[in-house]
Symmetry: C2
């Protein structure tokens, strides 16, 4: 059955990139990129990622198997506009997805068909619509929310996310773009509950997969008093 | 050999408590407490924690063994003033530490000797001094930084922390007191590197222990271009 999943590489302090690059100069030389590449080293080193981009070499290890597994599970993708724009050139004529990608945007654009099974369809009527279209296109496989962080937050808070897998890199950045930031619209005594479903531990990164349970009240019980 | 260690229970979004309670009303009924108790459920349920407080029952499971191991490893503690004040009444005549505790504070106060081996010594000449005094008192065991978050950050950024163990509860709070917040004094192209040393996975919480490597530059290499 199709699940809606998200995968994000984050630092120990929860960032998926350095501070957002809004200034002049090349993104590749920005602090945003420096943070991003530190956090995603494990992906860029993985043979399974390099194969998808047509690059030789890479590590054939547990991390690579995690990447391969994620690609195999994804039948369709949903992606934010900034990520799609940023990837358009580096991903080239044959992007790594090999599946339909639905881009959430305000700007209408004709579907871009690439080689190898990847297409980019621009969806202007919102996140829920993009998820529905991806679900219809996923052919029984999963809908993967490819990022960025703002899109993952929207899908999570809309109650549309079934599974969240964090790849936690052992580094503290101190500043940057945070996946689970303070824009989550939760009440003071409200939380989102999850259940850890799988943990895979490597020297480079800790992979923790969660099943998303949804919003729940934070109940004050008497446990703190210890007389349970 | 004595190591300086810190253990903190945090939410998936990095909080160790709800939003700081600065208002009128009881702390126990605050959002800070609601978040704190959700995140520390696993401790409060653990038999090893309850035994230390003189309470019956509790779960005799992997989480309890993690608590017991932490208590056994701690030869002396360093604690922030707010935490020490907050614990003074609930910890009672026989606090759970059974070891010397050094409280970092601006307010001089006579050492408070409790039953069972716990004492509270108030250190007014800074964090490094408190860590040194704890090291001398630890008798070859570890110096455990007991919290709160501000103290752990200070010890980490002063380069005094050897090991950080996060107990990650599967819950998103959306707001609160963050352990690794934006007050870390890191440069734009600077990070703190760590190495994952142990991961223990339970349904209630994921325990990840890191060896702290220290500050390191974020180097922009050509990996993002994929031609490595």
């Amino acid at each position: 059955m199709t699940k809606v999943t998200a995968q994000m590489s984050v630092s120990l302090d929860g960032y998926y990139a350095g501070p957002r690059h809004d200034r002049d100069g090349h993104w590749m030389e920005s602090a945003e990129a420096a943070g991003f590449f530190r956090i995603t080293h494990w992906v860029i080193d993985a043979m399974a990622w390099r194969e998808r981009l047509g690059f030789p070499g890479g590590e054939d290890d547990t991390n690579s198997r995690i990447v391969a597994e994620a690609f195999e599970a994804g039948g369709a993708y949903v992606m934010g506009r900034r990520m799609a724009d940023g990837g358009e050139v580096p991903w080239g004529e044959e992007p790594p997805f090999r599946a339909p990608v639905f881009v959430v945007t305000h700007r209408p654009r004709q579907t871009l068909v690439r080689k190898g099974g990847t297409s980019f369809t621009y969806v202007t009527d919102g996140v829920a619509s993009a998820v529905e279209r991806a679900r219809a296109a996923a052919n029984g496989k999963n809908v993967a929310i490819a990022g960025g962080g703002a899109l993952v937050r929207q899908v999570l808070m809309a109650g549309l996310l079934d599974e969240l897998e964090l790849h936690i890199a052992p580094v503290v950045l101190g500043a940057g773009m945070r996946l689970l930031d303070t824009s989550l619209d939760l009440g003071e005594f409200e939380a989102v509950e999850l259940t850890p479903a799988r943990v895979v531990h490597t020297p480079q990164v800790t992979h923790v997969r969660y099943t998303v349970g949804g919003r729940a009240p934070l109940v004050l019980d008497d446990r703190g008093r210890g007389e349970g």
